[in-house]
Amino acid sequence: MTPPADQSAIKRAATPLPLDEALVDLRDQIASFRFVLDAPGVDEARAMQQDLLNQLDDYLLPRVRRKDAPLLVVLSGSTGAGKSTLVNTLVGERVSATGVLRPTTSSPILVCHPDDADWWLDERYVLPGFGRVPGPAPDAVVGDQLVIMKSDVLPKGLALLDSPDVDSVFEEHHDFAAQFLAAADVWICVTTAARYADALVWRLLHRARDHGATLGVVLSRVPEGGEEVVGHFTEMLKDHGLEQAAQFVIPETTVSGGMLPSEAADEVQMWLGGISEDEDGRAEVIRSTLGGVLDTFRTRVPELAAKVEEQVALRTLLREDVEGAYATGLAELDEATRNGSLLRGEVLARWQDFAGTGDLERALHAGRGQTGHRGSRRNRAPARVRALKAALRSALESLIVAGAERAADEVVSRWRSRPAGAMLLEGRDETLDRASAELPRRVTRAVSAWQDHIADLIRTEGVTKRSVAKFVSYDDEALALVLMVGLFGFGTSDIAVEGGTSAVPQRLLKALFGAESLRSMSAKARADLRGRVGMLFDEEAIRFGQVLDGAGVADETTPVQLYQATYNLEVAR
């Protein structure tokens, strides 16, 4: 154990946070977010997060708070390697079931000295996620309950945990095994001569190495003449950077009463005895595992933070998909309201009806000067004006609605091409790939507001040229329509040119208001339209934003806070 005086001196000097508070803080930070967006490597990130949390809850916090707590030795390894047999041999009695059926151990069994039993039976301290059952327990115990057995043979301050396997078909065992390992002060990995090259065994050993645990490796069931295997195994351990691990070899022998001949496990027994009974040895184990685990946090938490940053980046990407689609929609709409493509079908027919029958001429009536200007003769041809206005409105509405539909469809197809987006759309794409139900109503409001705005423009800014004002007055409403038709690019579309009319509205308006004034009115009208449609599209895009936000992706500050918590932890050490 580190000299207490030393440590407290450092604490006072460098940081206001004691170690356990720094750890709690880090734990809170890690638990504060979830990996919600599907992306390559996200499963690993989730596992990493769970791993860190488990290790904090099951090992670091209890250990930091109680340095004198009993040591936990976890036996882990392949199914059929003889973990239970080894435990039985070490304890000297049959506490864990053994047999030929795989996997044999389904509920984890913890063996401890009777004096320590209270500590282990209390769910508050170590492994808070597991229930406790005082042993010996019947077979029918579920996997997330620890069976606590007492044994005098074990030294005080030491507990053996016979963990489920890491490689059988029962996948829930793997998670429990991982959690037990995270809680362990000492790991004992048990493998056999037949499977020492299994990928899963080495994954386990790598974990032990990466977690900085104090490690013992047992190679069991070594047949006669197996020196070659032992040599190869030792070599492999070295190649994988595990030469510091204590190594034990147990030959293949007959198992009786669920136990090996006691001499087979002598070495392991002595090693464990050395760890538990000798105060220095004990302190050394705690210090090295604790230090090792905390060391790994230096790289593991930033790694996690990097994964969070990836999530944040992914969210930004998805958001850009939405913004991009609607921006494209807006640009297309802008173009469509400019190039004359709106002036087709009904609108053009109504315009022709309005202009060709002389109603347009009648809208300009001579000789009244400014006085007749406020719509005194509006009743003269209301039907055609109204029809043109309605046609313009409906064309513009359709255009906006179609644009919104296309944008929604585009967003959905862009999202669908990304795993994260596809996940977000799960069960929602039937509604999201269409424009929202309220859109038509909103569009109607926006378009009629725009038409009113244009009429206002004509009224307030449409000051007739002096030369014309003397003998011409006009009907604002009709003129507003002329301005709209002009805005929409009358005369620029091919068809209209074929029809022999080029830019009639513009020429008429120019003659009335003058080029300068017309330009400014057009610019204002266009800007107003773009603003209104932009707002509509924003509202449409919000639906996607809500889905994205509703998913609960970590925000930009999370990684920073993680880094900060790691730094605080370093300082607290």
């Binding site: 030929v100 490689d167 037949a194 499977r195 001429e361 029809g499 003659a511």
Partner: protein
């Protein structure tokens, strides 16, 4: 498909393996092969119909299976590819050697032992291409001639004629690159032998990666529990029972489990017999493909809708579509505009010329704004109805297929919808064209307009004459400026009659104009109605051609796909 070897002497169908060493053709094989080819042809059609419509992964897998089946059926049917697979240390190589009777594949305690596949062939005829197809390294190919075996006195050895035994690398050791190789061999072998041992029989790696996904391959899988020498006799049964329970839980119906010990030799003979029977039956090749096919076809159930699809858009939907397109093309508006144009043009002919003159003389804002030419342009604009609004059309097409696709599987829902919109770009132009086709007949000038016009001018002439007459009477009879050249001008008493004529003529002109205008209004309305009717017909035709027909075609494709999938799925059930 199978290659015949000369010297065949198969007398009975159920020739026991020991009776003949020469390769024979199993009588059951041709019908089995043709059944398989038939099903593969169905799958081929499914791929053709579903490509680009159904889930791409499924299509890719189906295409891969078709390619593999094609390859395998083309290659030697007299050979059976038997693969020994399993974890490291389970004793694949030991079993391999035990069957071969020679130490061909290295065995040992070191793990992992075998790093690449070894193959041993009984009967070399036609095996070469097969081994090339399997991509077995030439250095690891061995051949056992049956003659040799017989000479060495091994009685049943001949029964292995036609066997290609593969010793695969393990799939669970730290050499992860081997996994891909194992996957490849497991994918192509005719018979899969899973070598397990008491330590490893419940391993995650083998169960989740291979045994569970291949649970339907009972007929072409054999589970061998090796190393039983490590267990006590009563433990063996327990172990096998547990293994069977595990396999059954994974979906295997009748797992075939053998126990062997390469070390003690127990069970090796049975094992060899099972292989020999399989090889002699020569059915593993097709059975394997059938099992693969069955597994793949089951995935088509997602794309197979339970409900009989509609053949077309129903009358209501079609009517709604036409209505929406009529709106998109603005047909009522076009008809109205045309009606106005007609009336306006008619006024030029049948209007009372004097009224028109009066209008012309009134103050004209356009003239004052020096924009007179605009008037003609405005008039000219009348002649062409133009294309429909793209946006209107798009919106109309959004909903047209909704009723039809409701009961379709999602992937087909999408493809039918797309078919409905496939011509969205071309529709406005087509609608415009169908409208324009109607207009010219409408722009003709009817004969009675001319008649009325001539009549009006006749009246005008009469009126003019009357005026001149009146003036003449006034000048000669009233003011006596000169002596009247004729009595007609000198007689003041005629003036009232002439004036009456003038008034009558003018009144008649106005009356004619009035009557003509009413007549025009009447015909204009009739014309516009007729035109609207014709335009609607054009739109209906366009809707049928550009929207409904593509949807129908797509639905027909789906119906055929569903049919084929139904057949395929029924074949599986059988």
């Amino acid at each position: 498909m199978t290659t015949t070897t000369p010297g065949v002497s198969g007398t009975s169908e159920e020739t026991s393996p020991q009776q003949t060493a020469a390769p024979r053709r199993d009588p059951a094989a041709p019908s089995e092969v043709s059944g398989l080819t038939h099903r593969l042809a169905t799958l081929d059609r499914l791929v053709e119909l579903g490509e680009g419509r159904v889930d791409q992964d499924l299509m890719d897998d189906a295409a891969a299976l078709l390619a593999r089946a094609g390859d395998r059926l083309r290659l030697s049917g007299d050979h059976t590819i038997v693969a020994l697979a399993g974890g490291t240390g389970s004793g694949k190589s030991s079993l391999f050697n035990a069957v071969c009777g020679l130490e061909l594949s290295p065995t040992g305690l070191r793990r992992p032992m075998t790093s690449s596949a070894h193959a041993c062939v009984w009967g070399l005829d036609g095996a070469g291409p097969l081994l090339d197809w399997l991509e077995v390294d030439k250095r690891h190919r061995y051949a056992r001639a049956s003659a040799l075996d017989q000479a060495s006195g091994e009685e049943q050895a001949g029964s292995l004629q036609g066997l290609i035994l593969l010793d695969l690398p393990d799939h669970d050791s730290i050499r992860s690159e081997q996994v891909a190789e194992v996957d490849r061999y497991v994918g192509v072998a005719d018979l899969l032998i899973w070598v397990l041992d008491p330590q490893k029989y419940a391993d995650f790696a083998v169960h989740r990666r291979y045994l569970e996904p291949l649970a339907g391959h009972d007929g072409v899988s054999l589970i061998v529990l090796n190393q039983i020498d490590r267990l006590a006799p009563e433990e063996i049964d327990e172990c096998v029972k547990d293994l069977r329970r595990l396999l059954e839980a994974e979906g295997s119906r009748t797992p075939h489990i053998l126990t062997t010990s390469a070390k003690s030799g127990a069970g090796i003979e049975d094992f060899r017999d099972v292989i020999a029977d399989t090889v002699a039956a020569r059915r593993a090749r097709t059975q394997r493909l059938v099992a693969d096919l069955d597994r793949l076809i089951q995935r088509f159930e997602d794309a197979f809708g339970a409900v009989e699809p509609p053949a077309t858009i129903d009358g209501k939907g079609a009517a709604a579509l036409v209505e929406a397109l009529v709106d998109a093309a603005g047909i009522p508006a076009v008809a109205e505009a045309m009606e106005s144009a007609y009336a306006l043009r008619a006024t030029d002919y049948v209007g009372w010329p004097l009224t028109r003159l009066a209008t012309r003389l009134r103050s004209d804002p356009l003239r004052r704004m020096r924009l007179v030419e605009l008037r003609d342009e405005l008039r000219a604009a009348f002649t062409t109805p133009v294309n429909a609004q793209q946006a209107h059309v798009d919106n109309a097409l959004q909903d047209v297929t909704e009723d039809v696709v409701r009961d379709l599987p999602p992937s087909w829902r999408r493809s039918v919808r797309e078919a409905g919109r496939s011509n969205a770009e071309a529709l406005p132009e087509t609608l415009g064209a169908s409208l324009r086709a109607v207009v010219p007949s409408f722009n003709q000038v009817p004969g009675w307009w001319w008649a009325v016009r001539i009549w009006q001018y006749l009246l005008l002439v009469v009126a003019a004459v009357s005026v001149v007459w009146l003036v003449g009477i006034a000048a000669f009879a009233g003011l006596k400026v000169a002596h009247a050249p004729t009595r007609l001008l000198g007689e003041a008493g005629l003036a009232p009659y002439v004036a009456l004529v003038l008034v009558c003529v003018l009144g008649l002109g106005l009356l004619t104009a009035l009557v003509a205008r009413n007549l025009v209004a009447l015909t204009a309305a009739k014309h516009s109605e007729r035109m609207e009717q014709q335009m609607r017909e054009g739109v209906t035709a366009a809707a049928r051609e550009l929207v409904i027909t593509p949807v129908e075609e797509e639905l027909a494709v789906y119906a055929r796909f569903r049919d084929e999938a139904g057949h395929a799925i029924r074949d599986v059930a059988r």
